[in-house]
Amino acid sequence: MQRYALNILLPAAAAFIVVLSQMGALDLYVQSVIMFMAINVIMSASLNLVNGNMGEFSCGHGGFMCVGAYVGSLLSMLLFTNSKLFGAALLPGYSALVLFPLVLLGAGAAAALVGVIVAVPSFKTRGDYLAIITLAVNYMVISAIQNLDVIGGPRGLTGMRPTMSAMEDVVNLPWMMIWVLIGAFGSVALIRRYISSTYGKGVNAVCQDEIAAEIMSVDTNRIKLVTFMVSSGLAGVAGALYAHVVGYVNPGSFDILKSTEAMVMVYLGGMGSLSGSVLSAVLFTLLLEALRPLQIYKWVLVPLILILLMQFRPEGIMGNKELPDMFPRLRKYFTFK
């Protein structure tokens, strides 16, 4: 029974947050911070799959988020809202309650497809050379969207937020919070299941010794393809959630700065540690919010804190360990087998 403790505990915590938001005990600002935190968790956990578990150096994760944000917004507008772009909604507003996951799925699928552009060169190209390809893809995505005037180009795109109000009209719950939490817990669970399966352990094998992996019957190209697609697809889901939380997407929001943030979270948490990247995403978001009053000094202090942290812990908060490795007592509640 204890093995399932986590599966009960985490949804319970999520439900608790939702109930608190519903009662108004958490004000909207705190709710918004929690939502951005959850989105960052998805970003950092999904990038960790490539940068940590697979040992590649992808620095264009923002590009996939961008694809997801746009595709998610467009789907949401097409299906559930009356918009200038698509005219009347295809489906009645209440259907969003059930069909909203379709939006996330579509966003993820589109981002995963763009992930292929990176995955295919990765068969031959590795390391810093692959890093350039990911960067180039980030630039390409942004530039492509800037040139698409139909979806607003550089002026950005609005109009996906009414989907949330449509849901709230039917059942009055903080739907945005619910979907973001589902997205975050779902993504982390998905990644955990992937990397703890024998199939996904191939990712670690590719990271540690690609030649040995290939010789020991691991189809390395397929592993790379699948891992890049899972990672970028989840970034796309994060993007779609982001778009609905902010209510506006603009290609400029997903530039290298966004990718850098994701990268910092991964390495802060420790390469290859899923719980580390979740923890660091939470800490990083809180740190940024808590230091907001410092204004410009915040952006001097935050890097300074991170540099000091790396000096004391040059392998990130968790190293490549998971929570149960560090706190053995947790082991009976959940493992990473």
């Binding site: 600002y29 911070v33 951005f36 950005g156 609005t158 209510g247 506006y248 603009n250 290609p251």
Partner: protein, 392 residues
């Protein structure tokens, strides 16, 4: 190692706690106004100008004992939140101002990239917001709680078209703009459409773009010069204008330039120097030869901070004063923040005529101002001299 993990958990708890407890104090005879401005990120100068103008206004009023509403004086408290020039950060900043700081109204954000999402939040949370600088129609569209102090691109575009056609006797035009900047792109599109409507298809002979942080524009300019336009329209930020104008001259361009309101910074002349002399741009007010309140504002700002205020400073000043006017027009200050916000919004929407330092204005149904634009000429000594005024 273990200790470290525990310490980080402790830190997490502390930070969480701090976040939840932050900003809960209330004072009865102060009025809180929030500023959601970019103090870091791409355009820190814009945030700085907004902050300076607001600080000056606050000191003005507080030194006189506060803002008089319904016979009682209230001290002003301005809360500045940095939105880092990012959309998500602007949303968080707006929510923090609304939920935790309990402000009655928000001034900002400045650029549309932040103003559009923040406007959505303010509208949903029923808090009046006025963006000093945003020109994207989406900022206010369908949002009764959101206002702005700047005129829109669809108004400014034709101003530039008509003025340059008349002043330069031009038949053809070239445009260079920033593709990553929605303001620049929007204005460029409108300018192109207007010009071609007036002069016939193909009369915009070159329509070139660059990126936000680009510093070299020689390829685009070579192309523009090759197309031999009668003048070049540059709806760009002043720092890029300085580089574009210089590089165009290096490549042998002798013709005139036409600019937009983003030129309107005192820094333009320090950066651009003699290359910009004699050029024209459309803007909100002419600093040189200004009279009355405008002159007082410019002189005091110059004295206090050491430079002539940018248009964004003047617009922030006006935007903040519109909020204050709304508070005064409401006639009373009620303790309940939500009710107070409603009072202010209604009062702002009903302002008949507001005499600001960037001209007199009133709001249309969307919350956009109806006001005049001026075209200024850059004089030999670097002043922005009034050339023409265009009213809707």
């Amino acid at each position: 190692m273990k200790i470290f993990g525990r310490l980080s958990l402790l830190a997490l708890a502390l930070v969480l706690g701090a976040l939840f407890l932050a900003g809960c104090s209330k004072e009865s005879d102060t009025i809180k106004i929030g500023f959601d401005i970019p103090l870091t990120g791409d355009i820190p100068k814009v945030g700085e100008a907004s902050k300076f103008a607001a600080e000056m206004l606050k000191e003005d009023i507080n030194s006189k004992g506060g803002l008089e509403v319904g016979g009682k004086k209230y001290k002003l408290q301005f809360i500045y939140q940095d939105n880092e020039s990012k959309a998500d950060s602007a949303v968080n900043a707006a929510l923090k101002l609304i939920e935790q700081d309990g402000v009655v109204a928000i001034v900002g954000p400045n650029s549309s990239k932040q103003a559009v999402p923040a406007g959505g939040i303010c509208n949903e949370r029923e808090t009046p917001m006025i963006s000093p600088w945003s020109t994207n129609p989406d900022t206010t569209k369908g949002r009764p709680w959101v206002f702005r102090a700047a005129f829109l691109d669809p108004f400014q575009g034709p101003v530039a078209v008509n003025f340059s056609a008349k002043q330069f006797g031009a038949k053809t035009a070239a445009v260079i703009f920033d593709i990553a900047n929605d303001y620049s792109k929007g204005l460029a599109d409108i300018f192109k459409a207007e010009w071609e409507k007036k002069m016939g298809a193909g009369s915009v002979v070159a329509f070139e773009s660059h990126g936000t942080k680009d510093q070299d524009f020689s390829a685009q300019l070579t192309k523009i010069l090759g197309a031999k336009p009668d003048f070049i329209f540059i709806p760009d930020n002043y720092n890029q204008v300085a580089l574009i104008v210089k590089q165009a001259h290096d490549l042998g361009w002798k013709g005139p330039f036409m600019g937009s309101d983003a030129w309107g910074s005192a820094e333009l002349m320090t950066l651009c120097g003699k290359d910009c002399v004699g050029q024209f741009f459309s803007t909100h007010y002419a600093a040189a030869g200004a009279q009355g309140d405008t002159k007082v504002f410019i002189d005091r700002y110059n004295q206090k901070y050491g430079y002539i205020p940018d248009d964004v400073a003047a617009l922030t000043w006006d935007a903040t004063r519109i909020v204050l006017q709304g508070i005064q027009d409401a006639g009373k200050v009620v303790a309940d923040v939500k009710a107070e916000r409603k009072l202010i919004r209604d009062a702002m929407a009903n302002i008949k005529e507001f005499k600001g330092i960037t001209g007199s204005m009133k709001f249309d149904a969307e919350g956009d101002p109806i006001k005049c634009a001026v075209v200024v000429r850059i004089s030999e000594d670097g002043q922005f001299v009034f050339a023409e005024s265009v009213c809707p």
